[in-house]
């Protein structure tokens, strides 16, 4: 007890239990990010906006499913669903991305995070993964509702249901995943530039909105090449183009001509560049 040099022993003990590593930090950040996306575990104020969007999206899906079940009218299929609510997806990422990125900068917790065994790649990865999951849930769950309604009302037994599942829902989910990955990486990059949530939200919306009319303008230029490449300018039509190329001829209201691969390459590069820039952004974090 009374070793030489010890004046007071006030009873502090070292922690000797197991120490969780990077994987646990990643998991915790991911889980927290996903919960924060929907305001879970937070006050009612944080829930209003995400759940407003979720409510509208679910309403659209239910109306669509009901129209199909009752009147046999397909308002839009699993693909068109994503494009129909694209403005709500923009709104959703404008709400959630600043919540995930800007809040941490504003609250000055980044130096605390990075004093743990956490690398920049883990932080960025966890944030991107949680936003991708959140956007995918936003799109995938309504699609599942549309599928379930269809499955219980389709005539033709299990074969028909399987066909609907395999031929329509799964590609629809893949398409939603594409939306989620592209929107999450771009919006998180924009949000990581400013600690003010307000500016981040404005920037995200400005970016996504101002690119859309450009497509409309380019697609009326008197050059066929320009028309086929017009969709490259806006993330929304870019995703359309990628899917038209992959699914070879699905009609999503966009003509990509023979430039399909370019759409694929640009989508890949866009996501890769956004993620690399995010990594570069978090190589160094300011303490304030």
């Amino acid at each position: 007890m009374s070793d030489a040099g010890v004046i007071h022993d006030i009873g502090y003990q070292r922690y000797e239990g197991p120490r969780l590593g990077r994987a646990a930090v990643f998991g915790a950040l991911y889980q927290h990010g996903l919960r924060a996306s929907f305001g879970l575990g937070r006050s009612i104020k944080a829930k209003i906006f995400p759940w407003l969007v979720v409510g509208i999206v679910l309403l659209v899906a239910v109306i669509n499913a009901a129209a199909r079940a009752q009147f046999d009218v397909i308002l839009f299929d699993y693909f068109e669903f994503d494009s129909t609510i694209s403005w709500l997806i923009i709104f959703f990422v404008a709400i959630v991305a600043p919540e995930l990125m800007s809040r941490d900068m504003r609250a000055g917790v980044l130096p605390l995070y990075f004093s743990r065994p956490l690398r920049a790649a883990d932080y960025v990865g966890a944030k991107v993964a949680s936003l991708v999951t959140a956007v995918f849930l936003l799109l995938g769950v309504p699609q599942l509702i549309m599928f379930l309604t269809a499955a219980f009302t389709l005539d033709g037994g299990i074969g028909k249901v399987w066909e609907e599942f395999y031929g329509a829902l799964l590609p629809g989910w893949a398409y939603s995943l594409l939306w989620a990955v592209l929107f999450a990486s771009i919006s998180l990059l924009i949000a990581s530039l400013t600690g003010k949530r307000a500016f981040a939200a404005g920037g995200i919306v400005a970016f996504f909105l101002m690119t859309t009319p450009v497509v409309g303008v380019l697609s009326i230029l008197p050059s066929e090449t320009a028309q086929d490449l017009a969709g490259l300018v806006s993330p929304m039509s870019l995703i359309n183009g990628v899917y038209i190329w992959l699914a070879d001829g699905v009609d999503l209201g966009l003509d990509v001509g023979r430039f399909g691969p370019i759409y694929g390459i640009e989508a890949f590069c866009l996501v890769a560049v956004a993620l690399l820039l995010l990594l570069a952004r978090y190589r160094k974090v300011a303490s304030l």
């Binding site: 403005w87 709104f91 919306v205 009326i220």
Partner: protein, 236 residues
């Protein structure tokens, strides 16, 4: 009052932040120039550029960023208390902020719209768009200024208004047009210089009166709200 306006303007423009406002107008003029260079008929490109980009995106988004930036950011980081504790009538504070917000928005939106309108049709059409944009800037700025006093998340509420109310519902539900500033702008510009590009759905008196109600009513209510403003800590 001039000091408040000066500080607000510096808050908006300081540290090269003004450059952030440049891409939107430049894109607007750039697209019009591209179309002009390729000899596309203005009947084809007028609608997507003037209405789709100019009136539906550039004007409201600029107004949103500027309008919430002049007051909302000060409320957000708590520096508004420095202005509130000075012996200034709250009216002067709001009026100064409103002046800066509407002025900046009007210049950012009206100048490129004038250029685009002049390219698309005639100088008269350009002037009509500019007048409409100035009216819209006043109404939008007052609305977003008021929002930053009514709620802690003014940008999201403003975005909900632009995206959901004007964007989504305005297309499908005709009744929402009576309460849509974008439609007032289109109505005013369409009346000054009738053209095929614009399709005004509200009459001129309705558009003028409603924009005035938004601008004046919003400002008055904002003065009232700032009069009994209470500081709150970081919540949610």
């Amino acid at each position: 009052m001039s000091t408040v306006a000066y500080i607000t303007a510096r808050g908006l423009f300081g540290r090269r932040r003004a450059l952030l406002l440049l891409p939107l107008p430049l894109l607007l003029v750039g697209l019009a120039l591209i179309c002009e260079a390729y000899d596309v008929s203005p009947a084809d490109w007028g609608q997507p550029v003037v209405v789709g980009l100019g009136l539906a995106v550039v004007l409201p988004v600029t107004a949103l960023i500027v309008g919430t930036g002049v007051l909302g950011s000060e409320v957000d980081d708590g520096t508004i208390i420095h202005i509130l504790t000075k012996p200034l009538p709250r009216r002067d504070i709001i009026l100064a902020k409103m002046l800066v917000a509407a002025g900046v928005t009007a210049v950012t939106a009206a100048v490129p719209l004038f250029v685009v309108g002049a390219l698309a049709e005639s100088v008269r059409f350009g002037l009509a768009l500019a007048v409409g944009a100035v009216a819209g800037a006043l109404a939008y700025s007052a609305l977003f200024l008021l929002l930053s006093l009514l709620t802690r998340r003014p940008v999201l509420v403003g975005l909900a208004y632009i995206l959901v109310w004007e964007g989504l519902l305005g297309r499908f539900v005709s009744g929402t047009r009576v309460l849509s500033i974008e439609q007032y702008v289109i109505g005013i510009a369409d009346k000054i210089a009738p053209s095929a590009i614009l399709d005004g759905k509200v009459s001129l008196p309705v558009a003028v009166v409603m924009s005035a109600i938004f601008a004046v009513g919003g400002t008055l209510y904002a003065i009232n709200r700032l009069g009994s403003f209470s500081m709150a800590g970081e919540t949610s």
